[in-house]
Symmetry: C2
């Protein structure tokens, strides 16, 4: 019984070989299907431990065939040490036997699935003629978010802003070959005012107001991605009280999301209810809509199972004997007995 | 930033190189220290998903330096397919950076730490002159349990019984070189009646009575190990109501342990309270004591951190670049950009 190991380099090779846009299209479809099949999945809020240095979280999810766990951190001071703020491991196990079948780097997957989830929400909540995307915060996840959202709206231009000029430069270099007009803004307000779809993905600490209520126009859809842990939010709460707010998983969002500032009565729906057709998404061009995204294990489940399928198809990854292979399954002790039998 | 990979074979090599008894002594000490430092640890009940085929569980724990997660299954029908009932993966991450530093097979560790936890409980709850150990169920964990308990009492003989004769034969072969008198019993009652310390580690399904109240003598200590999930228990509930019952973590034990049959009012203490000196263990030779063990993440934390120390000291394990190494930590997208920079 082999375990497949996929490093970040393996994941990168897989994505490049099928193309970022293809990868995103397929992942968006998989995330949408997962939300549509919500009632067939095991869904729980993640278990999060907080430290002075950051957070460490474990995120299990499952259907009747595949069980996945993602282990992920969030350490805002890591970049000052040359380390990534977020890295992640993904584990896939077979429900039928309980055996693990894959351990993969899930750092790239985390960025991709965060983008894919915002894309699914954007599909149900943005005006279908949205041509202008604004993004606040051009850090590690920004390109993934913009590209993912671009797959579901007729995107023409991107306004972007970050307090770190080098992050804006990096964003521009990474995004310049995808055919969008790129406009570097001089402040957050300019981005917000221009946006049909606005993405907030800052590392702002504390209860911030990266976006003020009077900066956004009627009809905007906001993917609020950066507010994702207790005490860390990005939006002026008056935006939430004036908007149709959709979350991923209510119990987790109330602890980690923007709605920790405004409470359960400001939540219109969980995303799966829109995808399943139980509740309508956007109903007119004047509504403000917000996807209060914190990231849930179901999205990682969709990404990890998709990666496994691709890795299997493409033959990528190291296969190793990892867990014990026993002639007699009840004789675990034989592994440490000094005499060979 | 390397990740250390330890297969079951690596773990086996480490244990053999320092010796099973040494490994157990050190692990028992580490588990005891972990319970003594309970208030410095992050402790939560495990997240368990149940299926027709079995269970899959994820078990995070942490102190201020090391974060561990164990992913473990329990699939009773696996042996009929030549597979182990239980296999496990252990992940270790550095709290300071959030980066994973080790992925290890944790199947052997699970057996060892289950034994070590029963040893710690036995130290505080068994009569100090206990010479006779009885074990019901001689499956994969039985040798680990007996050897671990033997490290804390003046053990002379072991009575054992299993409904599967081949499992008893395997047990005898594995245990014959440790210097104990081994007595194969013809039924469970014979074992229970002879025991100063009794271990129940059967795979019995449902709410069973592997041990009846009138089979056990006054003064016995019971490590009840096999009843470890909802609807799966081993002891006649009258034993619990007549005994001093100690659990690992009350909220988890009430769902998974023997005390799911008898309720919270039958629980005397959590084990850490005994180890910390907050509550006395055994106070006279007549008491019946029960350690209602289901397995908690703190025990895995002790085992995984110990394994990491040994692997580092002995230079065992494959080191690989697993998570992304980025020149610019904010440029995750560079991993999938087609042009190299």
């Amino acid at each position: 019984m082999h375990l497949k190991l996929l490093t970040a380099e393996d994941v990168s090779r897989i994505v490049k070989s099928i193309g970022v846009e293809n990868f995103l299209d397929n992942l968006i479809a998989r995330v949408e299907v997962a939300f549509a099949n919500w009632k067939q999945l095991k869904v729980v809020p993640r278990v999060s431990f907080s430290y002075a240095s950051g957070v460490l979280e474990v995120m299990p999810a499952s259907d009747s065939k595949w069980y996945t766990v993602k282990i992920v951190n969030g350490h805002p001071l890591n970049p000052s040490k040359g380390l990534s703020t977020v890295v992640a491991l993904g584990i896939l196990a077979d429900v039928e036997t309980g055996y693990p079948v894959m351990v993969a780097d899930a750092t790239l997957l985390t960025a991709f699935r965060t983008g894919a989830s915002s894309a699914v929400a954007t599909k149900y909540l943005a005006r279908s003629d949205s041509e202008t995307l604004g993004i606040l915060g051009t850090g590690a996840q920004s390109e993934f978010l913009c590209l993912a959202v671009s797959r579901v709206i007729p995107l023409k231009r991107i306004f972007y802003y970050d307090i770190d000029p080098s992050a804006m430069k990096k964003f521009k270099v990474n995004m310049m070959n995808f055919g969008f007009e790129l406009v570097e803004a001089s402040n957050a307000r300019e981005v917000a005012e221009q946006s049909d779809v606005l993405v907030t993905a800052t590392a702002a600490k504390g209860r911030c107001r990266v976006v003020e209520r009077n900066w956004v126009r009627q009809g905007v859809h906001i993917n609020a991605v950066g507010g994702d842990s207790p005490g860390k939010t990005e939006l002026d709460p008056r935006i939430l009280t004036d908007a149709k707010v959709v979350v991923e998983l209510l119990e987790q969002a109330l602890v980690e999301g923007e709605v920790q500032n405004t409470g359960r009565e400001t939540v219109y729906a969980e995303l799966w209810e829109l995808v399943s057709g139980l509740k309508p998404g956007r109903v007119d061009d004047e509504e403000i809509t917000v996807f209060d995204s914190v990231g849930i294990a179901v999205e990682d489940w969709a990404a990890i199972t998709y990666l496994y399928d691709l890795a299997t198809e493409l033959g990528v990854g190291l296969k190793i004997d990892f867990v014990p292979s026993l002639r007699n399954p009840k004789d675990l002790f034989s592994l440490v007995a000094l005499c060979q039998r």
